[in-house]
């Protein structure tokens, strides 16, 4: 995601490994790093999840707040996804408002949730035209060792599935209205090879990446190509098959 300067030796080594179908940390091309998801990490949030993907750590908190609805959807709740690339997470992150990488990260996670219709926003009205629930999904990146998109998307959907209803009178639903489990799988392309879950060293040398978000039935709800390289149509079809298979594995961590 963030391109860091890598020594030519390391670059050549990783690219050459890829040619042999190998990876810098010994994984198979279709293998994720070790995954852990700790839900309800943060008390003041209605839902939260701390995701570790190898050394990458992302904390996602979800809060419900009362807001005015949009004029064109007066009785529908609102989904707001925000991502902060905290300067404590990487020497390349700087304090300040979200840059294009943070914005892309938030928007890719947002589309996965929104387009899968995982949350039934229609049920999150309060007083039509006056007040609805806003679902604030805050992605807090704590340690950046690559593949922030998958870690963040997994954290967001896990946090949403851990939601406690707010303790207020005008909340009428038995539970938070969530029904689907979209999962983002990011595939990097290095030296013509596709590999899932790129670590930072791999991101720094990859030509391009594509993130494919699928739901339980294997259908695609969102995609995003990133990086300055290209894909052939055949590569994209292969990437889809990879994404669909790996999403099933990751989905187990949502709980």
């Amino acid at each position: 995601m963030m391109y860091e300067i890598v020594s030519t030796v390391k670059r050549d080594y990783i690219i050459d490994l890829a040619r042999q179908g190998k990876r810098v940390d010994g994984r198979a091309l279709d293998q994720y790093r070790e995954i852990s998801v700790e839900k309800n990490f943060v008390e003041p949030a209605q839902g939260s999840a701390l995701v570790k993907l190898g050394n990458t750590q992302v904390l996602v908190g979800v809060k419900l707040e009362r807001v005015e609805p949009f004029p064109d959807e007066p009785s529908s709740g609102v989904l707001i996804v925000n991502a902060e690339l905290l300067p404590l997470a990487s020497p390349t992150f700087e304090p300040g408002p979200p840059d294009e990488n943070a914005i892309e990260l938030a928007r890719v996670v947002d589309r996965g949730i929104r387009e899968s219709k995982a949350i039934d926003l229609e049920k999150l009205g309060i007083k039509p035209g006056e007040e609805v629930w806003a679902v604030f999904v805050d992605i807090h990146v704590l340690d950046h060792d690559g593949n922030l998109i998958d870690a963040s998307a997994l954290g967001a959907i896990a946090a949403l599935w851990s939601m406690k209803p707010p303790d207020v009178e005008d909340w009428k639903l038995p539970e938070f209205p969530i029904s689907k489990k979209p999962v983002a799988v990011t595939i990097a392309k290095i030296n013509e090879r596709l590999m899932v879950d790129p670590c930072l060293d791999e991101e720094n040398v990859m030509e391009a990446r594509v993130t494919i978000t699928t739901t339980e039935d294997g259908s695609i709800c969102a995609m995003q190509k990133g990086g300055v390289g290209c894909f052939t149509p055949e590569e994209l079809e292969a990437a889809y098959e990879l994404a669909r298979a790996k999403a099933e594995e990751l989905r187990k961590f949502i709980g």
Binding site: G218, S219, I220, M223, C230, T232, P233, L236
Partner: protein
């Protein structure tokens, strides 16, 4: 506007097009005096201007790259380009589009020829129908060529999607709003490589394959129009003795 009952009737879309048909397309290269290269594209009701400056000195200096030029891209919508006035300045959507547009264009530019330099691409949406990012990329590629910047290929871009269960080419705003799926795609037409891919909505694996193939078909047509615009521009330049 209310959602129409059906968006495709008897195999025809609301504006009379077939599912695999582009909207009327017009491309003109070299429309601005100050810019090093420029292009104006109309696709349906989209009116989009692209300009290129560079290679030029990179400011601020600490962003200079010792072994390559840096491509920068800014996508912007005029306040009056949409129904509800857009506040001037970048928002999250335009920041993301600027990023993916840059990544869509960068593969074709020989940046390594201009170490330390900047090449700036500006995309201005004067009037927006659906497909402004892809139309903007189409315009920007022509503007890059008009600026005389060495390129491996052009980039042609178009959105495909799913409307009433049908895979269609080049969505209108109504189709974007009421349809199921929107997938913007940019392609290097000669090399058959995809440089931009985004998608939101719903596709099965098979639908994705069909849509991708339709995007290639649409981009071929756009590519022909781009080349034609550059030929016309070149002949004008030659007449003018430039």
């Amino acid at each position: 506007m209310e959602k129409p009952e059906r968006l495709i009737v008897d195999g025809k879309r609301l504006d009379g097009r077939a599912p695999d048909e582009l909207r009327p397309l017009r491309i003109k290269a070299g429309v601005l005096k100050r810019a090093d290269g420029s292009a104006y594209v109309e696709l349906g009701r989209n009116k989009i201007l692209a300009a290129v400056y560079g290679p030029r000195e990179m400011h601020p200096r600490h962003l200079q790259q010792p072994d390559t030029a840096v491509l920068r891209c800014r996508y912007n919508m005029a306040p009056f380009s949409v129904e509800e006035r857009k506040r001037p300045g970048p928002d999250r959507r335009s920041v993301e589009i600027s990023k993916v547009a840059r990544e869509a264009l960068e593969p074709v530019v020989f940046l390594e020829l201009y170490p330390r330099a900047a090449i700036d691409v500006f995309i201005e949406v004067l009037q927006a129908d659906a497909g402004t990012r892809t139309t903007g990329i189409t315009a920007a590629a022509v503007a890059l060529a008009d600026a005389g910047i060495p390129m491996r290929d052009l980039v042609a871009a178009v959105a495909v999607g799913k409307v009433d269960g049908t895979i269609v080419l080049d969505l209108t705003s109504e189709e974007d709003q009421w349809g199921t799926t929107d997938m913007p795609v940019a392609i290097m037409p000669r090399k058959k490589l995809i440089t931009l891919l985004q998608m939101d909505g719903h596709f099965t694996g098979e639908e994705f394959r069909q849509a991708l193939s339709l995007a290639f078909k649409g981009c071929e047509q756009i590519y022909e129009a781009q080349k034609q615009a550059l030929r016309e521009r070149y002949s004008v330049k030659r007449e003018e003795g430039e």
